[in-house]
Amino acid sequence: MTPQPNTPAVTTPNTMTGAVVEKQIGKYNVVVDRSKCISAASCVAIAPKVFELDEESLAVVISQDGNDDDTKLLAAQSCPTAAIIVTDTESGEQVWPPK
């Protein structure tokens, strides 16, 4: 298994009327366990802005903030081999698959 490294929740500086507001885009971090991926592409179908298939037809994460947390979780839950690990970056707990 070669999980991709965890990354912290994305924060985007947003300038509004001179003030800097920090906007958090989701708290779930997704990682693909490529040894389990069978190229079913259900994740790509559900969260196409987060996952895509690479040249080996295995799922990779292209962005952590392309789709919202609920969609990312649904994509992970739809994977027939539970190859997608979802972690809550705030609590550090693994959200999916259940431990």
């Binding site: 079913a40 592409a41 259900s42 179908a45 559900i46 196409p48 979780l73 649904l74 739809s78 259940p98």
Partner: protein
């Protein structure tokens, strides 16, 4: 290109125990009220409050767009089967659908189609067969190889006999691995059946079964000259 999946709510409307191994379920859509899928696609059903999901191929045809049929092998009796068995008529389920890219590639009726299934893997292939029959009638040659363990596992026999009898373009090869002495047709695994019948190298091949069956079938087909690019299989079985 298949339609993107969406969350759908559907209601159990029929449950037909076909034999000791297979049960067919019918779900009618509640929200939305129609599904636009392609034959060969599947639904991903939420089967417990924790979020576990199971994938089930749709065995009905896209023409019937207000619901979907599932063809279930109940013998493994895993989480998905138990969930389905515990449903009462009228209960609703949540599915993501349509899912998957295991669909007929060529819509050219001069390209023959060969479907190779074991067990409940016949579900998406049955949908493809009937869908193509509706679209092309007798203009597309199609062959179904279906491997089962026992003769008692056979179902849809009358339907399949009827379409074979009324459509000269359809061929059906049921294969029984533990057949009684009097079984008149192919014995052994579906790959054994494929080795003794004619293999059309111009056809597209669609395989659905367990992983070893898929690998074995691909090996037989490639050895018999079928280009790998013409072989397609469902990945989640």
């Amino acid at each position: 290109m298949p339609n993107p999946p969406q969350v759908m709510t559907a209601r159990l409307s029929e449950r037909e125990v076909l034999n000791a191994k297979f049960t067919q379920y019918r779900f009618e859509l509640v929200l939305p009220t129609k599904i636009h899928f392609q034959s060969g696609q599947y639904v991903s059903m939420s089967v417990d409050p924790a979020g576990h999901r199971r994938s089930f191929s749709i065995s009905s045809t896209p023409e019937n767009d207000h619901g979907f049929d599932l063809f279930i092998d109940v013998e493994p009796h895993g989480m998905g089967v138990q969930y389905l068995e515990n449903l009462q008529f009228g209960d609703t389920v949540s599915v993501l659908a349509p899912m998957g890219q295991f669909v007929v590639q060529s819509e050219d009726p001069t390209v023959p189609l060969v479907f190779v299934a074991s067990g409940s893997g016949v579900a998406p292939l049955r949908s493809m067969l009937y869908d193509q029959l509706q679209k092309h009638g007798e203009n597309r040659k199609m062959t179904l190889f279906w491997g089962l363990r026992h003769e008692a596992d056979m179902c849809w026999t009358d339907d399949l006999k009827s379409i074979v009898a009324s459509h000269p373009n359809i061929t059906f090869h049921p294969t029984i691995s533990r057949a009684m002495d009097e079984w008149p047709l192919c014995r052994g695994r579906v790959t054994d059946c494929l080795t003794v019948h004619e293999v059309d190298v111009t056809a597209e091949y669609y395989i659905c079964g367990n992983q070893q069956m898929i690998l074995d079938t691909i090996a037989v087909l490639v050895a018999r000259g079928v280009p790998e690019g013409k072989i397609f299989h469902e990945k989640f079985y």
